[in-house]
Amino acid sequence: MKVSEIIYEIKKHFDVLSIDEKNEKYAQIEINEKDLRNVLLHCKHNMNFIHLSAISSVDYIKDNKFSLVYNLFSYKESILLGIKILINREKAEIATINDIYHPAIFFERDIHEMLGINFIGNNHLEKFILDEWDGPPPMRKDFDTLEYVNDTFDWYEYDPEWAKKLGIKKEDLAGEEMEIL
């Protein structure tokens, strides 16, 4: 079976906004946010997509959107299918899918922590990695790491004794900023 046949099947029941077919066995489609749960249920129960490989989220700050991509894999057909939705950045919340795919329980926790998207119905959204962090979700594009470091930490002058003895100037110790960046 080819991935185009799978997409044809999905199209019969749901609106597919865009199709990005990479090869015979891998495609990514975009659907409406409201259809997500039904599409996933349909994929799992009627089309053998029993494995949720990952959920990835991207912050499209210019469009004021977050994307969520649910990558499903079918062991039977060896097909990888990415299902993408866009959600509003201001009201970043969506219903959990961990009752459909159990591994989502951790993927959602990770996205909640890193991008601040709320998954309604997931009771395991407590902090995992950043438990001593009270700043904004760090993977959002408007979080600037350099600005945060400048605001939070004090710089100190590096002028060690050994350099003075050797007659090396303070300016020469500092590395030059790379132009390409």
């Binding site: 490989s53 990952a54 990835s56 062991y75 159990h102 951790f106 995992f128 990695i129 438990d131 760090p138």
Partner: protein
């Protein structure tokens, strides 16, 4: 009699019975674990954020550090994502060398884990032996790439340089050595009554549960399901190699240890075939000036089979000189969190380390 029946115990974040820096918060009643909470973050280095601020080529130095014992699947996965986005074809010889590197890395990682599993049951000879054998793999890597643990060898477009003179013979000799050691591992560990008693029937995962929980890699194959990314979405030179996927039906700690020993034997077979079938030719396709390289806009999700299970990289490019987003899904993001938590419920305290090592959960993958 004390009134307090339940108490809390931390294992980790620094403990010889834990892989890497990771903590298990256990609620105990006697020596039975009632509840387990995993606590990560001790190895968080913010790699995903860092990658958005570095050039495409600079990130090669970052990705390998995502999993310390088995770094090469990361490099390979990252490189293949860029190649998929820019529609680049890599030379045939480079595919063989990449597969060779992946298999050597897999053997090294499995040897590490086998030593760990055996040590948690008190067989401390095994880590001494298997880590000495792993050192021979690291020597091969040193000869090939200059680095022992991190290799920075697989780069977009191919590999960094060709095999050095006499390298093939060295690899074959090392494979012969490790293959000759395997029966000794059997008599030390797998036929050892203490080991069998401790691991047989401990922490069993059924086929259905494994699929429902999203278990992948050797842990899934120990439940009797022959699924492997190398076969079901083949990449590099694996389609030209004749190899089997070993499986066992038990789904317990014993089979999860045994599958790793079987995979070492299978990887040795793959390495020999790769060496014999390796074509001549260039090893690196021409890539644009890496300092000005703009990867075409697009998004892609690519999977690799690592020694821990299924790896996935989701990469988004906006056509700029740096990645817009790289999301890493490590195999241990399922094995090391809720799978481990569920397996430990009802287990005995002395089995906690054994179960964690048998799942081969790698904390740096979870923390990134």
């Amino acid at each position: 009699m004390s009134e307090k029946r339940e108490y809390t115990l931390y294992i980790g974040p620094n403990h010889p019975g834990i892989e890497g820096n990771y903590a298990l918060r256990l609620s105990l009643e006697g020596d039975i674990i009632k509840k387990c909470n995993t606590e990560g973050g001790f190895l968080h280095r913010g790699f995903e954020k860092l990658m958005e601020q570095r050039l495409w080529i600079q990130n090669i130095a970052i990705v390998c550090r995502i999993c310390v014992p088995d770094p090469d699947p990361n490099e390979n996965n990252y490189a293949r994502c860029i190649e998929a986005l820019s529609g680049m074809e890599i030379p045939e010889r480079a595919k063989f060398i990449r597969s060779l590197v992946l298999e050597l890395s897999r053997i090294g990682s499995h040897l590490f884990t086998l030593g760990g599993i055996a040590a948690t049951t008190g067989i401390y000879t095994m880590p001494n032996w298997s880590i000495a054998a792993r050192d021979r793999i690291l020597e091969l890597f040193e000869a090939l790439t200059g680095g022992r643990v991190y290799h920075l060898y697989t780069v977009p477009g191919g590999v960094r340089r060709d095999l050095p003179n006499g390298f093939k013979d060295k690899v074959l000799k090392t494979m012969d050595y490790i293959e000759a050691r395997l029966p000794e591992y059997d008599s030390l560990v797998f036929e050892n009554p203490v080991f069998v008693q401790r691991t047989r029937g401990t922490a069993v995962i059924s086929k259905e549960t494994a699929l429902e929980w999203g278990v992948t890699g050797p842990n899934l194959r120990a439940c009797g399901i022959a699924e492997d990314v190398r076969k079901n979405q083949t990449y590099e030179a694996y389609d030209q190699i004749d190899f089997n996927i070993p499986t066992f039906d038990g789904g317990d700690c014993y089979d999860r240890a045994r599958i790793r020993r079987a995979e070492i034997a299978e990887s040795i077979n793959i390495v020999r075939q790769l060496i014999n079938k390796m074509p001549e030719g260039p090893v690196w396709a021409k890539i644009p000036n890496p300092l000005k390289w703009k990867v075409p806009a697009g998004e892609v999700f690519i999977r690799t089979e690592s020694s821990k299970g299924e790896y996935g990289y989701y990469m988004v490019s906006d056509g700029g000189r740096k990645p817009y987003r790289v999301n890493v899904k490590g195999a241990s993001m399922t094995h090391g969190t809720f799978v481990l938590e569920n397996m430990l419920k009802g287990a005995r305290i002395e089995d906690a380390s054994l179960i964690m090592f048998s799942l081969d959960a790698c904390p740096p993958e979870i923390d990134r």
